[in-house]
Symmetry: C2
């Protein structure tokens, strides 16, 4: 029995999110089925670094699982390449220290939210960005973004469905940049709660549109009042870009 670490990319459009659920097509479910077959039909428990929601994409999700099969790492990678559907790909497979835990040892996650800024809506971005053609006051957005980094209670930006008791998390950086017609929010933090990035983006876009002043971020944070925040931005724009590990038993990913 050894422990495998997997680096995954997926187009989340046709998945009901990461977490395995009966009768739904989920990333964890499809991956577990493939790994169980490779493991000689012995059950496999797959753990992910983060539970992406339905429709959310990943460029670099990390998962781990125990594996009793004799196939070497390259053989597992090759077999997964053939077994997994074309919207879920294993980019790398490696044997890591037994104690590695994709979720617990993640030191930071990088999420990117993409905004289609084209006047007419890019038909090739409709699954991979939210469309906002109108003017955005980037200076106001910069001031709002500056209120985000730090160790804070994110209750006001968290979905009501989030059952985690302790809503204190550290966000390291929050940025926005536009290149040609594509806007990109980047958030780096130790962890993010349910809908937190999408609620931040919805609020930041409302600041950019002039619906809120930049101080709204602090007002939501201090009051913890979700109703003061902007709408939850659509899942299609969100990507788990990377999970950062340092000094973890599994090494860097």
């Amino acid at each position: 029995m050894r422990r495998l670490r997997l680096l995954l990319a997926y187009d989340g459009t046709d998945f009901a999110g990461w977490q395995i659920q009966p009768e739904l097509r989920t990333v964890q479910g499809v991956l577990t089925a493939a790994l169980t077959r490779l493991n000689g039909d012995r059950p496999v428990s797959v753990r992910g670094a983060g539970r992406t929601d339905a429709g959310v994409h990943a460029l670099g999700q990390v998962a781990d699982c125990g594996f009793a099969g004799e196939l070497p790492d390259a053989g597992v990678a090759h077999a997964l390449s053939r077994m997994l559907p074309d919207d879920l790909r294993a980019l790398a497979v490696a044997t890591v220290a037994d104690g590695f835990h994709a979720g617990r040892h993640a030191q930071a996650k990088v999420y990117v939210y993409r905004v289609d800024r084209s006047a007419h809506g890019d038909p090739f971005l409709r699954r991979f960005a939210a469309w906002h053609p109108g003017p955005l006051d980037q200076e106001a957005m910069e001031r709002a973004l500056a209120c985000i980094p730090g160790r804070r209670d994110w209750s006001g930006f968290t979905a009501a469905s989030c059952t985690v008791e302790d809503k204190v998390r550290t966000v390291f950086t929050a940025r926005y940049a536009e290149e040609e017609a594509l806007g990109r929010f980047t958030f780096v933090g130790e962890g993010f709660l349910t809908h937190m990035v999408r609620n931040l983006v919805g609020t930041l876009l409302d600041v950019g549109r002039g619906r809120f002043t930049p101080e709204r971020i602090t007002e939501v944070l201090e009051s913890g009042d979700r109703s003061l925040a902007g709408p939850t931005a659509p899942a299609a724009g969100l990507f788990l870009e990377r999970v950062v590990y340092e000094n973890a038993p599994g090494g860097s990913a």
Copy 2:
């Protein structure tokens, strides 16, 4: 009554091609329905520069139609933006000279075929590229590409379903380039027959793989024998990038 020229972009994945057909979702069909409504339910005849196949995309398809409505060009553009689905977008609308004909006045078309060269298959390119992870002999492909430009009879590269009698067309340029993990074939010609670009790409990739020598292109051209060519490359990789007009009554597009 005036004549409108439309610049269109579409994700061809969910369209049964350009040409209007009963009970199928086609680009011409969806566009005709929207323009007919804007034209006060008077019938509208929409002509395209090229008939893209099912699954083929467009970054710059051009169409024209007669229009009796009083809405100015900007109003038509704005209304289409709201009425058209998010996989079909009108990028520009302009009134042109009455004699303009999107098909007959096109002097050249630029088609791009995209190849995903990543080892594991990029899940975000599966609708917009064909996946070829193996080695490609680019030098052999260059020699094969060099046999393409010119005024030739393309019978050997044309689908059996193509009913055009005269299969002589001029191709101006045929190129291939790779940037990071994305390969791009670019073909510029006065016009292309049914499946011609996809059959050329299928044959060129077989040259790159070493299945054919570069001379195969000339053999197919001289014999006109379709069975000597490679397979038809999948529709998903093909984009009508641009239609070139010069000295046409409608001006440049």
